[in-house]
Amino acid sequence: MKSELCFSETPAVSITITQAMAYLFCPRFTYFEECLGIPEHEETRFKVLMGREVHARKIKINPDYLRKRINVVRKAVSVYLASPTLQLRGIVDEVLWLADGTLAPLEYKFAEYRPFVFGTHRTQLCLQALLISEAFAAPVTRGYLVYVRSKNFLREVPFRPNDFHTARRAVQEVLRIIQSGRFPRQRGTAAQCADCCYRNLCV
């Protein structure tokens, strides 16, 4: 007899945007952290601590400031969003209401400006965009990154249709690894592996 699952009664499992970003860094990161429960100990990384400090400061300083240059008409800071349908939750540094009627996520990065956008940063903005779009029922066509270590350089990141597909797939993959407990293939480059906190465990 075929068993049928009733998805409407299944409690919604959700992951955080950070978990999805960790998966994009390397799927084994998800395995070590979520399946084996080995903590990352990110609090020991100086840059992480500095980044947290910057986030805390940015939220407090000048909360009414609107970026007129990109036609912001309203903003909300440190917005917690969750969606059972997307199986995703997370905090957006700033949600911007733009003059053209669209919304956009803005993310502060304790990093220096590079002439390209990292895939993890793009996907982070995409996931935030999906949450914003659902929560506020408005279109989200682009996101913004602020590079704190490059004099708060503001960069616009227009979304491509494929970006949302990649972002949704990352969420599903994280859930699949957590639920199946399968040891995934590594994806990191040599430079990433050298800097990974699980390098001594990873085979």
Binding site: R45, F46, K47, M50, A191, A194, D195
Partner: protein
Amino acid sequence: MLVWVVYDIEKNPVRSKVAKACLNAGIYRVQKSVFLGELNATQVDELALRIKHLIDEQRDSVYIFPMCREDFGHVRLLGQAFDKELVTDEVRALFL
């Protein structure tokens, strides 16, 4: 990459903290205010940020020099030499 960290720091507590940060980053003390060792780009960036956070930028000075292995081969040592193999992480075990 191989990195030299050379500093001139006025206050003793700050100097100690910078020395400790260098040792914690995994580089070796070759002279009182000179450290040398193998670090990757992220580690160099993190060490630079940490030192910048500690020092008084108006009074102290810290140089972080990256160096390629080819140039390191041309380093000339006069007097007491440091262990070249140790600072390049070629010594994997100190005890057998």
